[in-house]
Amino acid sequence: MKVDRWKRYFANLTPVIGLLVLMGAFFVIGTKEDINITYGLQTIINQSVVVAVVATGAVFIYTLGSFDISLGAAVAVSALMGAISYNKTKSILVMFLVCVSVAILISLFNSVLASFFNLPVFVTTIAMLSVLNALVLILIKINGTGSQIAVPADAVMDLDSLGVKLTVLILFVIVCIILFNFTSIGRMQKFIGGNATCAKLTGISGSKMAIVAFAIAGIGVGLGAFLTIIYAPTLTKDTASSVGMDIIIAIVFGGMPVSGGARSKIYAAVIGAFSMTFLGQIMILLNFNSGIGQMVKAAIFIIIVYIASSNHKNKLLPR
């Protein structure tokens, strides 16, 4: 019995331990390879922060047992709209507000469409992925210069600092933790994710909760879009195109169950995003070719997620 308890502890802590191990490996290999560890850590924060912020918001959607594959495209559209608005108004505040508002609107559109017409959320987001990708091309064609829409680098240079990025990340994570762990929103979402029928029978509205979850995720997307612009103010058709899949990987890597429910946790997104980046950095340190590097990454990903989920297995195959 006691052994089981420790096993459970260990399994639950696996994502955190995994991150620590990856950090350790980064330090050890990095020292051996004589890298600039200080700069490396800054790099890792820079590389992780957008995924961490967007994924933190997305945890609310995952908790319901749904998932949104269009988040990366939503980041791109929000960032493009933000950049267009900056170029028209020369105001960072307007750019920020446009990024967040557009992202929330896209998210709400997704959820309202799904709720109002009883559509499966995932499929709605697949359709939205196509629409948003097309929108990216159209926005660049109409408002861009050639293949891009760019905010002048000087305009955002001061904001491109770890202080700003970490502040955004920490504040957003704190707000999400409060909403998720200390308000009825989080409890209801976990309830719906755990057992939608029971939740419905106790009077919880799945549709309303979906709208709330998507709205919070929208805020994350908007913040991610804003951070994308300040990090790299030249936006092209493939801006943030990898973010969509990175979010899924980060959330799972951080120990979040894809089925949602009571075991969902906000910090999974941050742990996962940083773990992924550390892993990527280690692969570059080892100078693998792209193919082998990707295979090693895949193996480590499966192992960590396997250990993290090892105490939640049952007789039936998971779906």
């Binding site: 009883n118 559509l119 193919g291 590097g293 990707q294 895949a298």
Partner: protein, 333 residues
């Protein structure tokens, strides 16, 4: 007898309404622009090639998705199996027949591996499929040193594309899927697990075995898709960082269309008709020279529109029914 005829008529209307409706709209649009939908032999080949690849991908997607197993890895299986088969055939100077066979075997083995990992680690399939996708994409890249495979100059291997060959592939795959999933013990078990996993397992159905067979069949069929794509152009382009998953998205709309048509006939035939419909649409995009961003929006709207109909069918019918009744009432007055 009369009822049966009416029912048969109703079924035919149900089966043909969507493809015929879509074709009519496309023909009207083409007519308005003075363009013939099928102007050259190339148009016919492209049409049947699209029908075959989309139909098989749709069947594959549905095999696991209907059972609640979301599989991102089907594109990477198609990629790696075609890389393996093309590399072997180029090296040993083999023809298209062996290439197809090797593709199927390689795909089945890759699918089997994917299934075995799934049942061993017992993680949600979506997670496993993410890892497997990365693994297979990485393997394809490593096997070819990143160059991919090109055999454009190999007249034998690029001779496959023809209307006849694609029709044969479509018929055989469709027949195989119908027989395996509708007329074997495996198929009955599959359906039992699909409708009630816990009950089915408790009645003694071997879920692990069934799941592994599903993955193996799906893999083998994706091997065929890989073969069709490779022989279509004579090249296999590499994909990394989930670049291979896009093929999966082409199958959602035909899957839903197929699901709807499946009410009137065998579900797999529904998928075929769904794929046929999408092939009409793809060809129309090409003939009408529709910009890719517009294509994306139209396809997405079709998907959403169709889903809205499917998920609100009763409400929509009620509205129409209500109107009909009201119209009748008004007439009486």
């Amino acid at each position: 007898m009369k009822d049966s005829g009416r029912s048969m008529g109703k079924r035919l209307v149900g089966i043909l309404a969507i493809p015929v409706g879509v074709l009519m709209i496309i023909l009207i649009l083409c007519g308005a622009k003075g363009i013939r939908l099928f102007a050259t032999e190339g148009n016919w080949i492209a049409f049947f090639q699209a029908t075959a690849t989309v139909m098989i991908t749709t069947i594959v997607l549905s095999i696991n998705l209907n059972s609640g197993r979301f599989d991102f890895s089907i594109g990477s299986i198609s990629l790696l199996s075609s890389v393996i088969s093309a590399s072997i055939c180029i090296r040993f100077g083999l023809a298209t027949g062996p290439m197809l066979l090797i593709s199927i075997i390689a795909g089945a083995v890759l699918g089997l591996c994917s299934g075995v990992v799934y049942v061993l680690v017992k993680l949600p399939p979506i997670i496993i499929s993410l890892g497997i996708t990365l693994l297979y994409e990485g393997a394809a890249f490593t096997v070819t040193n990143g160059y991919g495979v090109s055999f454009v100059a190999n007249n034998e291997l690029v001779s496959f594309p023809s209307v006849f060959n694609y029709i044969i592939v479509i018929v055989l795959c469709l027949a195989f899927a119908i027989v395996v999933f509708d007329h074997t013990k495996f198929g009955y078990d599959y359906k039992a697990l699909l409708s009630g996993q816990k009950v089915a397992v408790e009645t003694g159905i071997h879920e692990v075995k069934n799941a592994i067979i599903c993955y193996t069949i799906a893999g083998g069929m994706m091997g065929i898709v890989g073969f069709l794509s490779a022989t279509n152009t004579g090249t296999i382009q590499m994909a990394l960082n989930f670049g291979s998953i896009s093929i999966m998205f082409t199958a959602f709309l035909p899957m839903f269309i197929g699901g709807f048509i499946g009410r009137f006939c065998n579900e797999k035939i529904g998928y075929f008709i769904g794929a046929l419909t999408m092939a009409f649409v793809s060809l129309a995009y090409a003939r009408l020279n529709v910009h890719s961003s517009v294509q994306q929006i139209i396809t997405a709207l079709l998907l959403v529109g169709f889903l809205i109909y499917l998920n609100n069918e009763k409400v929509i019918k009620n509205i129409f029914g209500f109107r009909k009744r009201r119209a009748e009432k008004n007439y009486e007055v």
